[in-house]
């Protein structure tokens, strides 16, 4: 699957249909809906923008506007530093930063692919308390023209003990997340967004709004969102 693509679109690389196809072929085989006949060397992918967000997404006000706190560097060990933001509890489905793609579809279907890093940061309160984490469950999905596609949702909303949360939700400290969806849409202009949704007990996201270092927050970084019409 796309989890291990052979080559990914990268800044400065020729936008190559072959490389993209190579990454998609396993998906095609698994889905059973599309075959090689759907894939051509000069596949027409009408993308309104394929601008890559380089070196991880920069902090984006529109995303963090829904949140309490704008995150700082998450891991300085990573080149360029990665920035993220807090996901607000119970905020409903929220667009991740500016993760949106609008595409004019002639026939369809459309392949939507999102990949990103999901992570958490615990409070830097100096106490070195390794277990001080909120019980928060985060889901991600694709929103098509304002409606989240249920089948695209990854993550778990099952609340429960900490152990369950650790095992079942998108909870672990850093995970690569991939969302794939092949969507049949009517001809016309459609907008795809990467959205997230966080649930937890009130106050689970501990911390002090006035002291960012005390926040325990979910971060999303290095995302890519791609929508390609297959013709």
């Amino acid at each position: 699957m796309w989890r291990f693509p052979r080559r990914i679109p990268k800044s400065g690389r020729v936008a190559d249909s072959e490389d993209l196809n190579e990454g998609f072929f396993p998906l095609v085989a698994a889905s059973g809906h599309l075959g090689e006949g759907n894939w051509q060397d000069d596949m027409s992918g009408q993308l309104n923008s394929v601008t890559e967000v380089a070196a991880g997404i920069a902090y984006d006000a529109s995303f963090v506007g829904n949140a309490h706190y704008a995150g700082g560097p998450v891991d300085t060990a990573i080149a360029g530093g990665l920035y993220g933001g807090l996901v607000q509890i119970g905020s409903g489905w929220t667009q991740v930063a500016s993760a949106t793609r609008t595409i004019d579809v002639e026939v369809g279907p459309v392949i939507v692919m999102a990949s990103f890093q999901h992570g958490r940061r615990r409070p830097n309160n100096g106490s070195n308390e390794p277990d001080r984490h909120a019980y928060v469950h985060v889901q991600y999905g694709i929103r098509l023209d304002g409606s989240t596609l249920p089948i695209s949702v990854v993550g778990d909303q099952d609340s429960g003990s900490e152990g369950q949360a650790m095992e079942r939700g998108l909870w672990n400290y850093r995970q690569g997340v991939d969302i794939f969806q092949i969507v049949d849409v009517a001809p016309g202009r459609h907008t795809f967004e990467l959205v997230c949704h966080a649930e937890g007990e009130l106050g689970d996201l501990e911390g002090d709004e006035d002291d960012p270092d005390q926040d325990d927050f979910v971060v999303i970084y290095s995302y890519e969102l791609l929508a390609v019409e297959v013709k």
Binding site: F4, G12, A15, V50, I78, S115, Q117, P130
Partner: protein, 759 residues
């Protein structure tokens, strides 16, 4: 331009492999590093690697698996008809299984303090040179062979030692004894000894006989009927007594002896060696023909048959699932010596698979007659501590045991943990240690460091395989370097280079890299060289330790005729997943932007992982190119490069002359572009796909769309005046695709005069 008019053009040079030889074809490069062969026949920069399962976030995360060294093995297979995916790796002092559902690795074998599934020391962590941990897939699980320790078997849910390395103890025999009648002064004068009346004495005679209190001690309840043990001779005349009573069903219970042994079994059907033999149960002669027995009516001789019992049954090690009791027939009367499987019931049940379907009880009453013993016991040897194993001919082959490094033996068919007796062979006449086993197309290959043997099935269909020497001088030094390419060619690392076997003979295949690569291999640690065959292009890739390294720090790639190098990972161990993905996974160290990082990596794949590999040079370096007019100095003037558009960067061109490795000129920052200048392709991150695009070649305007990358020509001006030989090196830290090159040289001209020439 005069240069052009007098220039001599080379043909197209499409180098795909390298050679360190002084004398070589221009078609062979001097060095090709981090370039892989594509399906289109070009060379493209190696991509990735990508972390398979990132270790947790260091100090900020919860305690989680860190891929600490030593790195000693990685293996993937599937069981249960493909339903169970098993990925195993040996790192951080333990052998781990990947549990993607838990998003972590679970410790299978390791130190008891780390709560493994099975606690066992893994001796190879002592740092001394030893083979890598061996893994061998079977249809129902994996054999795991830590070097110097017992082998294990793992089926995806349960792990246990492979087979049994010890035999059970002997059971205690419970049987009848002779009743001897004593009083305080000795034998009663009016009494006499009675056979089979004491001890564990049970027969089918009358249950209560008030006037003969002796017999109720041994008799069976009427519902039981008779017992079954004992040989009866009915071919004797009934004996009439003074009261004219006779016994037409009478007979003689003959002297008999029975012995038993125990054999353990595990949940995969492996058997232990047969245990020690018990003392005999003895039944003494007895008859019911004589008047003195005071039979009121005729008594069947069958009533004299007895039962016995086997006690103190040994308990097996924890992975014992069942125990079989094996018993002789009446040793004094049978012509079938040996042990037979003792069925657990009088009638065979559908679920019956063992005498004792437990590892708990310690006494077993035995009422099975000799006539029911039809299944001879299966002889099994103790499982040795071995270093190598391989599946072949439906059996598991074990080699290089700790006590006998030159020994090879094999299991019973289908019973991977049960060593068949009398299968020992010592392929090498001098007893040298076996250093490799491999199932090749024509049979099993066995290697020592200096010899190679082939075992083929016996033509008769039975009996041991036939061994023959393939090479008395070439062997294998690294068991994990032996792989068969898609072409059927088996390749391995020998003492002085790589060799291949095509089904007929052993031939060297690495002459080209003997000088510049093979000499650098660390001979102490080469026994951990590891190879895999890349499933897409069928390349043989072998990681070796060079330049004094103790870990494999250079990958040599063999495509069946030519060699290349890779430096993307220091791979301690490598495997290819046996599923649709066919990912090549490597356990090792990669230089990342955050420093060297140990992990399990997916080779030849890339993504935005947690860690990004550092920029890595891809290099195509020609061999020493000489004048196309032989033995005369000349002047290279132009290099034509045939590339395939890939990146918005520029390739660095360096030129060396006259056998010196120092670049005469370096074109960093000034080299030819990796895309056609006149017709720029769309680049990711800058192209907007719904904008119109005017094609400069056709003049038409079309919307931007994804395209298949095109090959193109570009050139570089060279000026290496009057050189004897020159060399060109192309370097790019990124994505480059190389098709071929050509060069133009200017011959030295003498103006038409016929003059003696110097050098």
């Amino acid at each position: 331009m005069a240069w052009d008019a007098n220039g001599v053009d080379s043909g197209l040079l499409a180098q795909r492999g390298q050679s360190g030889s002084v004398v070589t074809s221009d078609e062979v490069a001097g060095r090709i590093v981090n370039m892989e062969l594509t399906e289109r026949g070009t060379l493209r920069s190696v991509r990735g690697p990508l972390e398979y399962h990132p270790a947790s976030w260091g100090a900020q995360g919860p305690s989680a698996t860190a891929y600490d060294s030593p790195h000693l093995g990685i293996f993937h297979c599937r069981t249960e008809g493909g339903l169970r995916d098993i990925l195993l790796a040996h790192f951080d002092g333990g052998i781990w299984v990947h549990e993607p559902w838990a998003s972590d690795w679970a410790l299978l074998i390791g130190d008891s303090a780390d709560s493994p599934e099975i606690s066992s020391p893994l001796p190879e962590a002592d740092g001394r040179p030893s083979f890598l941990t061996q893994f061998e897939a079977t249809p129902n699980g994996v054999i795991i062979v830590p070097q110097g320790a017992r082998a294990f078997f793992y089926d995806g849910s349960y792990i246990a030692p492979l087979g049994f390395d010890t035999a059970p103890g002997a059971p205690t025999a419970w049987g009848p004894r002779v009743r001897q009648v004593y009083d305080a002064n000795g034998l009663f004068p009016d009494e006499y000894d009675i056979a089979n009346q004491k001890g564990y004495a049970h027969n089918g005679r009358e249950w209560i006989k008030e006037d003969w209190p002796v017999e109720w001690e041994t008799g069976a309840p009427p519902a039981v009927g008779t017992y079954r043990l004992g040989s009866i001779d009915n071919a004797v005349f009934s004996n009439s007594g003074s009261e004219k009573l006779n016994n037409p069903m009478g007979g003689v219970l003959q002297d008999g002896e029975w012995r038993a042994a125990v054999q353990f079994g595990d949940c995969w059907g492996n058997l232990s060696p047969i245990g020690g033999m018990s003392a005999p149960v003895r039944i003494h002669r007895e008859d019911n023909l004589v008047k003195e027995r005071k039979k009121d009516s005729p008594e069947s001789a069958d009533r004299m048959r007895m039962q016995c019992a086997w006690a103190d049954l040994p308990l097996g090690p924890p992975h014992t699932l069942f125990r079989n009791i094996l018993r002789t027939k009446d040793q004094l009367h049978t012509d079938q010596p040996g042990l037979f499987w003792l069925p657990p019931n009088a009638t065979t049940g559908g679920s019956t698979f063992a005498t004792l379907e437990d590892n708990r009880c310690d006494v077993y009453p035995d009422n099975i007659p000799d006539s029911w013993l039809v299944l001879p016991a299966k002889q099994v040897e103790p499982m040795p501590t071995f270093r190598l194993c391989k599946l072949g001919f439906g059996r598991m082959w074990f080699a290089n045991t700790v006590s006998e490094p030159g020994r090879v033996c094999n299991s019973w068919p289908g019973m991977w943990g049960s060593v068949q007796p009398d299968t020992d062979v010592y392929p090498d006449a001098t007893g040298a240690a076996v250093t490799g086993i491999h199932a090749a197309a024509s049979g099993m290959l066995f290697f020592t460091e200096t010899s190679t043997y082939l075992a083929t099935p016996n033509d008769s269909g039975v009996g041991p395989p036939v061994y023959r020497t393939i090479s008395p001088v070439v062997g294998c030094v690294a068991p994990n370097s032996i792989k068969t390419m898609l072409s059927g060619l088996t390749v391995w690392l020998g003492r002085d280079g790589f060799y291949s076997y095509d089904g007929n003979k052993v031939v060297p295949v690495s002459e080209d890299i003997k000088d510049d690569v093979l000499k650098r291999i660390n001979s102490t640690w080469r026994l951990r060289a590891v190879a895999e065959v890349e499933p897409r292009m069928g390349e043989y890739r072998c990681w070796v330790p060079v330049d004094g390294a103790r870990v494999n720090n250079l990958c040599l790639v063999f495509d069946g005729s030519r060699w290349r190098e890779r430096t993307d990972i220091k791979a301690a161990a490598v495997c290819v997943t046996r599923d649709d993905r066919q990912l090549m996974l490597a356990l090792g160290t990669v230089a990342t932007t955050g420093g060297d990082h140990d992990s399990v990596w997916v080779l030849d794949h890339e993504a935005k992982g947690v860690r990004t590999p550092s920029a890595r040079n891809s290099i195509v370096e020609t061999s020493w190119l000489r004048s196309v007019v032989s033995r005369r100095s000349n002047t290279p003037t132009q290099l034509d490069l045939w590339l395939r558009e890939s990146t918005s960067g520029e390739v660095t061109v360096e030129v060396m002359r006259d056998w010196r490795q120092h670049p005469l000129a370096s074109g960093a920052g000034e080299g030819p572009k990796l895309y056609p200048d006149q017709d720029t392709p769309p680049f990711w991150d800058t192209a907007v796909y719904d904008e119109d695009y005017a094609n400069p070649m056709s003049g038409t305007t079309i919307p931007r769309h994804l395209v298949k990358r095109r090959p193109f020509w570009t050139n570089v001006a060279l000026y290496v005046p009057s050189c004897e030989a020159f060399k060109v090196r192309l370097t790019y830290a990124g994505d480059m695709e190389f098709v071929g090159m050509a060069y133009t040289t200017q011959d030295r001209r003498n103006g038409g005069a016929s003059l003696p020439e110097g050098t």
